[in-house]
Symmetry: C2
Subunit: 269 residues, 2 copies
């Protein structure tokens, strides 16, 4: 039985990690859990987010995955150490891959970070960046409206430009040469964010970078799937599944067109 | 005593990894070995390259490094498994990081690879790419003139454009959207290669990507240096050191301006 990579998020944001994961590692099986019933995590207390993350990991671990990916910046910021102590398989978050990528890309040493209130308040990116490169300068900005906007399936509509412009306003004119999209929901808004920040600011998707690091870790642990067979993925959400399914199918359409998907709504919480 | 990252190459090529390593991980100590007396490795037999690599690793291991980086594509292609069996610390090569980065960047699934005769003949990139993503299409081209040209310190001179144009000729017009610089010497020629390939082909430096993966591996093994102190690097070469020292000082000028360096020529081989 093929062991899966288990990916979790507060809702649909982690699908940006999954999309890259399926593209970069087409032979790997994915089990995804979106906690849509309790989304967004951004405004919640650290304690609450830790409890939710623990519940989901306890649920996912029954499928005997080979790796847990916390594809939610808010949960990574406050719960990753707790989860690492809880399970014996590798646990990847989305913060340190984004930080490492920003350090690779920046030439000026001045980096911007956007995220939920919870992520920005935790200073997790600032800590991860300065741990590696102590002289780096960081401008952080919470964007509390963006993840809920994506979660409602409103990306791609007319209003997205306006809401992104408003959210990023405090960063305009700051001397940053790259901007970490410190929330896995934000790649859904890549185009308007890119238009607002302009061509001189490189956007770092913590989702893309996490997929790349999953590949690195599996390779170095000799746990890559190389059977050549197509995996059967599994998707779970904790809330009403109609919107979750619609967003998933539209976001992953190129990927799930060629690989079978099983949908489930567990009644655990 | 701070444990170093030990980096080896046939000559000065591995300095492209070291430059990125010092930039991305400014707190890490580097011990570098350039086998300038026996460079280039490209035209040598696999058996010979394996013996040389083993000798250098045996020499470097006395410094008690925390990681070995084979910053030479030719040596990675034929010797990495041998070295992994020989030492108990992590051994990183430059091929799989380049392959993973190309998979992340390509949109068309058609990738070019240039390298020494030894690297291209080994099909190591093709194998690494297809292991992860079986449907990827690869165009490979040996460029035997380029590494010796860099090794002679001739990069940046007028002839570089001509020699790069000649070397890359067979790849012009091929439907690739990214090109793996599958030799650590090639980032010295980044500008002429970029001019010849044009803006639509992304250049993947196996050097940059390896530095990024070193960072990932150290982080996940909890072996990152975070003391905040400046490391003292050590550089060794097996041949006459004048040219090696000149190239190293010019290539790493921004990095070694702020960190002390010790130079040595061992008389071991």
């Amino acid at each position: 039985m093929q062991q899966a990579i288990a990916v979790l998020d507060s809702g649909v944001g982690g699908l940006t990690v999954v999309k890259e994961l399926m593209r970069q590692l087409p032979q790997e099986k994915v089990i995804y859990f979106g906690d849509t019933a309790r989304s967004p995590y951004g405004p919640r207390s650290a304690v609450e987010v830790r409890i939710f993350t623990r519940q989901i990991v306890d649920y996912l671990i029954q499928f005997n995955p080979k790796m847990i990916v916390i594809a939610c910046n808010t949960a990574t910021a406050v719960a990753i150490e707790d989860i690492r102590e809880r399970v014996s398989i590798p646990v990847l978050g989305v913060i340190s891959p984004g930080a490492r990528a920003a350090i690779k890309h920046t030439r000026t040493g001045v980096v911007g970070v956007i995220g939920t209130e919870g992520t920005i308040k935790s200073k997790a990116y600032e800590h991860a960046l300065k741990l590696i490169s102590p002289n780096i300068q960081v401008y952080s900005e919470p964007c509390p409206l963006l993840a809920p906007f994506v979660e409602k399936g409103l990306f791609g509509r007319e209003q997205e430009q306006e809401i992104v412009e408003q959210s990023l306003q405090p960063l305009i004119g700051k001397p940053i040469d790259c901007l970490i999209l410190g929330c896995t929901h934000y790649p859904f808004l890549m185009e308007p964010i890119s238009r607002v920040m302009g061509p001189d600011v490189t956007l770092i998707s913590s989702a893309d970078e996490t997929a790349r690091e999953i590949s690195t870790i599996l390779y170095h642990r000799d746990r890559m799937e190389t059977s050549g067979k197509l995996p059967i993925h599994q998707f779970f959400c904790s809330g009403e599944p109609t919107l979750f399914k619609r967003i998933t199918e539209s976001w992953l359409k190129d990927q799930i067109a060629i690989t079978p998907v099983v949908w489930q709504v567990p009644t655990i919480f």
